[in-house]
Symmetry: C2
Subunit: 249 residues, 2 copies
C-alpha cells in the first residue's frame, strides 16, 4: 500500500463541490474515487487539501490516496486523465511518505477571486469570473485588503454559524491587481474558514463600490459577527491556485 | 430607416451556427433578430459577414440590420447585451451608409484555428481548442502553409460538393505560431469557401503529424478534389477574428 500525492485541476461549474454528496455523483472527490477504485479494483478514498464549494474551480488542488497498484506514477496519471471527465485533469502523481495527509499537512493556500470589470460581457471567460457592473475604487480595496491581512479572528467572515473551533487564521497577503478588464484578488494564508474567501471578496467589492470604507474593516474584525460583513461573492469567480507543504511532504 | 453595423462576439458551443435553421432557435442570427425585433416592434433581418458553422466561435463577426428606431447606437448596444444570452455580446453598434452590406462589402476575413498540444487536458480552454495528441512538426506545417498561401483554386478544400461558383480565393497569409501549449493557425484571406479553414487546418495538422509532406500541397491544389485533402478539423477550434471593409464602409 503506497500513499500517492496528486495535483488536480478542475472547472467546478458542473460540480456540487469537492466533497461527496449523498444524492449525486457530481463531486470532484466522487469522480476521482470512482476512477481510482476502477483502476485498483478496490475502494479508494481520496483526501483533498480543502473542500471547495459547489461551482469553485481549482488549478492546483492537492489530494492523496493510499492504494495498492503496480502501475507507475506517470501511468496512474495517464489512466486517470483518460477516464476522468474533460473538466477534471490530474497534473501530477507522485509517491509521498505514508504519513502525508493533504489536509492536515497543508501549511498554506493561495486562492484567486476574479472579477470582470469591463464594459462588455466576457463571453469566453464568463464561467470563471464574477461580473461587476459599474466602476470600482481599486485603491480603497487595496487599503481594506491591507487591514484584513495578518493574524486575526475572522469570525465575521465565517460562513458556518455553528463553527465551534477557533476562527483565528493568518492571511499572509491579499493582492488586489487590475489587469485589463480583470480584477484579481489573490489571497495567501495559513488556511481559510468556510466561505471565507468569498465573504472577504464580497466585502472588498462593497468597499470598491463605496458602500463601506476601508477603515470599517477594523470594526468588522473586532465585532466577530458574520451579519456585519459583505455578501458571499458568487462561487464561479473563485479558484484554488496552490497548496503549500513543507519540503519533506 | 437606418442601416446599423454591429461587431459581435460569441461562444458558438451551444449554437447550430450563424444562420437560421427551420427546426431550432439556437442560431446566432436567430438570437440577434429576436432581440432586435422585440426592440423595434417589427421584424428585423440581420445580415452577417459570413455564415459560421455550428460550434464555431467569433470575436469580431460583423453584421448589419436596417431598422427604424429612435434609440442611439450605444443604447441599442446596451439593450442588445441586456437581452442576449451570456454567450453572445455586441461590442459596438454604429450607423453605416444605407448601401453597406456586411457580406457583399467584406474585403477580407481573419480566422484563427487553435490547437492544444500540451501534455495535460486544457480544462479551462477545452471548448475553444482542438486537442492534438502527440508531437507536431511545426516547421513542416509552416512550409505547407506557405505553399497554400496566395491566389489559388481551393476546390480541394471546399466542403460543398455542389459548389457551382468559382472556388478561386486569395489567402494573404497563413501564420503558424506556437505559444506555449497552443498552436495558432491564423488565416487572412479575401474570403473562404465552406469548411475551407477547417479543411486547411485538418490538412496542415496531417502535415504536422508526418502523414503528408509540405510539397504534397502543390498536388492538392492542382487536383481540385476534396477527397484528397485532410479531414475537416473540429469546429470548436475555429474563431472568426476580424472582417475587413474599405474605409468608407
Amino acid at each position: 500500500m503506497k500513499n500517492y500525492k496528486m495535483i488536480i485541476t478542475y472547472d467546478g461549474t458542473r460540480y456540487y463541490g469537492w466533497e461527496h454528496q449523498p444524492t449525486t455523483d457530481m463531486t470532484i472527490q466522487g469522480k476521482l474515487e470512482s476512477v481510482l477504485s476502477a483502476m485498483t479494483g478496490t475502494e479508494v478514498e481520496v483526501i483533498g487539501a480543502g473542500r471547495t464549494d459547489a461551482g469553485v474551480h481549482a488549478k492546483g488542488m492537492v489530494a492523496n490516496a493510499h492504494m495498492e497498484t503496480k502501475m507507475k506514477e506517470d501511468d496512474i496519471c495517464d489512466y486517470m486523465n483518460r477516464y476522468l471527465p474533460e473538466d477534471i485533469c490530474v497534473q501530477e502523481v507522485r509517491i509521498a511518505s505514508d504519513r502525508f495527509h493533504s489536509r492536515y499537512n497543508a501549511q498554506g493556500k493561495t486562492y484567486c477571486y476574479t472579477c470582470y470589470v469591463g464594459d462588455k460581457k466576457p463571453v469566453f471567460n464568463r464561467k470563471y469570473v464574477n461580473i461587476i457592473e459599474g466602476k470600482l475604487d481599486v485603491e480603497a480595496m487595496k487599503k481594506a485588503a491591507d487591514i484584513l491581512t495578518g493574524e486575526h479572528d475572522y469570525a465575521s467572515f465565517c460562513g458556518n454559524p455553528k463553527m465551534k473551533k477557533s476562527t483565528v487564521r493568518e492571511i499572509y497577503s491579499i493582492d488586489v491587481s487590475l489587469k485589463g478588464s480583470f480584477l484579481n484578488l489573490t489571497y495567501h494564508g495559513s488556511g481559510f474558514l468556510q466561505y471565507m474567501v468569498r465573504i472577504l471578496s464580497g466585502t472588498l467589492l462593497e468597499v470598491g463600490q463605496g458602500k463601506r470604507t476601508p477603515e470599517s474593516m477594523y470594526e468588522l474584525l473586532e465585532e466577530r459577527n458574520r451579519s456585519l460583513a459583505g455578501a458571499t461573492a458568487p462561487a464561479k469567480g473563485l479558484c484554488l491556485l496552490k497548496v503549500d507543504y513543507s519540503k519533506e511532504a
